[in-house]
């Protein structure tokens, strides 16, 4: 379980607290249950990346705390894995070596590592591309590498920062569906950042709508669409349209 408690973060000009500061996050609190899929939705600059980086343990909060299963987060840990907004691949490593990175850092036998990573490479549909370098594959494929790398560590909590932001609309829907299918088998807790309303409705159990300056939670919207959502065209469901209208109003007001 992931719990965010009264989180605030200020960025000071040139990291100097004597200068003027920008409140990126202001008193954010919410809880994510085990196996729950949560989307953080909000306009650019409302602090989504900041929040997810604090949850990952990459950034310190100025007030409040993040708890994972009751324990405060102070550093990155093996219970949480991050999928980066800009893919976050290492250009000198092949697809296989990139996926292996997480387990390699942990140590452990090489063959074991290979076997696990091969499984996740197949799960995201990249078999045959193991020896390609990142710049030799498309953006959508690069992001699958990032996802496979995070999944290979079999984390309790998956932190995904706009993972599909940089791919085209068709690829995006395809990746969303694949993510849903993968999640149905792995059942991790997911905190998924996006600024696409449709994406958040399609994916989430709950959408947390944020607003900027300072970054706050505007409201939580429960998505009561049945799962699995790929079986029927859930985007054509009248309930989908209602939710879309509701969330759009929240973002506007």
């Amino acid at each position: 379980m992931l719990e965010i408690r009264h989180l605030s973060k200020v960025f000071f000009e040139r990291n100097d607290p004597r200068r003027s500061g920008l409140v990126a996050l202001h008193d954010i609190s919410f809880q994510v249950q085990g196996n729950e899929f949560i989307c953080l939705l909000g306009p650019s600059g409302c602090g989504k990346t900041t929040l997810i980086r604090i949850a990952a343990g990459l950034l310190r909060a100025d007030k409040g705390e993040v708890l994972v299963n009751g324990r405060p987060v102070i550093a990155p840990g093996r219970d949480r894995c991050m999928v980066f907004q800009n893919f976050g691949l290492l250009p000198w490593r092949t697809v296989m070596e990139n996926v292996e990175f997480g387990l390699e850092i942990e140590g452990g036998p090489r063959e074991e590592r290979r076997r696990i990573c091969q499984k996740y490479i197949e799960l995201v549909g990249l078999q045959g591309f193991e020896s390609y370098f990142p710049h030799q594959i498309s953006g959508g494929m690069q992001q699958r590498v990032g996802i496979a790398r995070a999944l290979s560590k079999e984390p309790d909590i998956l932190l995904m920062d706009e993972p599909f932001g940089a791919v085209d609309a068709q690829t995006r829907e395809q990746l969303q569906e694949e993510l849903m299918k993968i999640w149905a088998t792995t059942n991790n807790t997911v905190l998924f950042v996006t600024h696409s309303i449709d994406e958040s409705i399609y994916l989430a159990d709950r959408v947390i709508v944020m607003k900027p300056r300072p970054g706050r939670i505007r409201e939580e919207v429960k998505i009561d669409l049945p799962r699995p959502r790929w079986a029927v065209d859930v985007r054509a469901d009248p309930r989908f349209a209602q939710l879309r209208t509701r969330i759009r109003e929240l973002l506007r007001g």
Binding site: P76, R78, F84, G88, W92, I105, G128, F133, H135
Partner: protein, 277 residues
């Protein structure tokens, strides 16, 4: 994969002509060879008419080359130069990369050492030769020192600024997966900096060759640089060309070695380059 099959079929359907017309520019080796042969022929033709004290010509130089090689003089002097080069440049690589990585990663190391780095780099290395001769004598160690100092700074500065340009986001990937400082160094910073390091080594090689030849010309005791001084002062111009040509070949060979190392150590950069060409 299925896709290759479809590509093949599509290719077969298009039924393109698979014959490639002859184009001279697709044979760069041939063009270069012709150019060199033509140059040598012209040099030979006009060179024979010039006073041999000022200019020699290819066949005379070849004869001189055979002579100095057969006497063992060339080989011996060449080895003396190379020995100092290998020791000096080897230590420049090790120290340049090591200190460069530290200075790039740790501010404390940077601020402690960068005044010396910039000051030393700005000082012309030739200016140090008399001092180094005074300290290390006429033997190999003064040459080692000059090679070391000539090669060190390009490598050090490139490594240092390479680490500085490694974006924070790459380091963050390591941190997000729980990498410790040592792992971040080995698995993120070192590979990310490698192209910069190799660029520094490439510049350093050139500077080091200049350094050693200058030092040898100064002392005129041993090495290829000494041969230059001895032959020129005895007006043996044909022989004088032998070490010059050997140095040119050495320069080309060293550059090629570094290039080969570059593509071996950083294959991802290699294929990026190939695509942008």
């Amino acid at each position: 994969m299925q896709t290759t099959l479809d590509d093949q079929q599509a290719l077969a359907e298009l039924n393109l002509s698979r014959v490639r017309p002859f184009q001279l520019r697709e044979y760069p080796g041939l063009i270069r060879l012709c150019s060199i042969l033509l140059f040598l022929a012209i040099w030979e033709y006009y060179g024979r008419g010039v006073d041999p004290i000022f200019l020699s010509y290819p066949t005379a130089i070849a004869r001189a080359a055979v002579q100095v090689t057969a006497s063992g003089e060339l080989g011996q002097q060449f080895l003396l130069s190379m020995k100092a080069f290998v020791i000096g440049f080897g230590s420049a690589i090790v120290l340049g990369i090591g200190v460069g990585l530290l200075m790039g990663r740790y501010r404390l190391a940077q601020y402690l050492l960068d005044p010396y780095m910039y000051a030393m780099d700005a000082t012309p290395r030739v200016a140090l030769i008399p001092l180094l001769l005074l300290w290390f004598g006429l033997g190999i160690w003064s040459k080692v020192a000059i090679v070391f100092l000539s090669g060190l700074f390009p490598i050090l500065i490139n490594t240092f600024s390479g680490v500085k340009t490694v974006s924070g986001s790459l380091v963050e990937i390591g941190q997000a997966y729980g990498a410790k400082e040592g792992q971040i160094f080995r698995k993120i910073i070192a590979p990310a900096t490698l192209p910069f390091i190799m660029a520094g080594v490439r510049v350093g090689v050139g500077r080091a060759v200049v350094g050693i030849i200058t030092a040898e010309m100064f002392t005129a005791v041993t090495g290829l640089g000494a041969m230059l001084i001895v032959y020129s002062s005895s007006f043996a111009t044909d022989k004088l060309f032998v070490p010059i040509i050997l140095l040119a070949l050495l320069g080309v060979a060293l550059t090629e070695v570094v290039k080969a190392l570059q593509s071996w150590l950083a294959p991802w950069k290699e294929s990026e380059r190939a695509e942008s060409e």
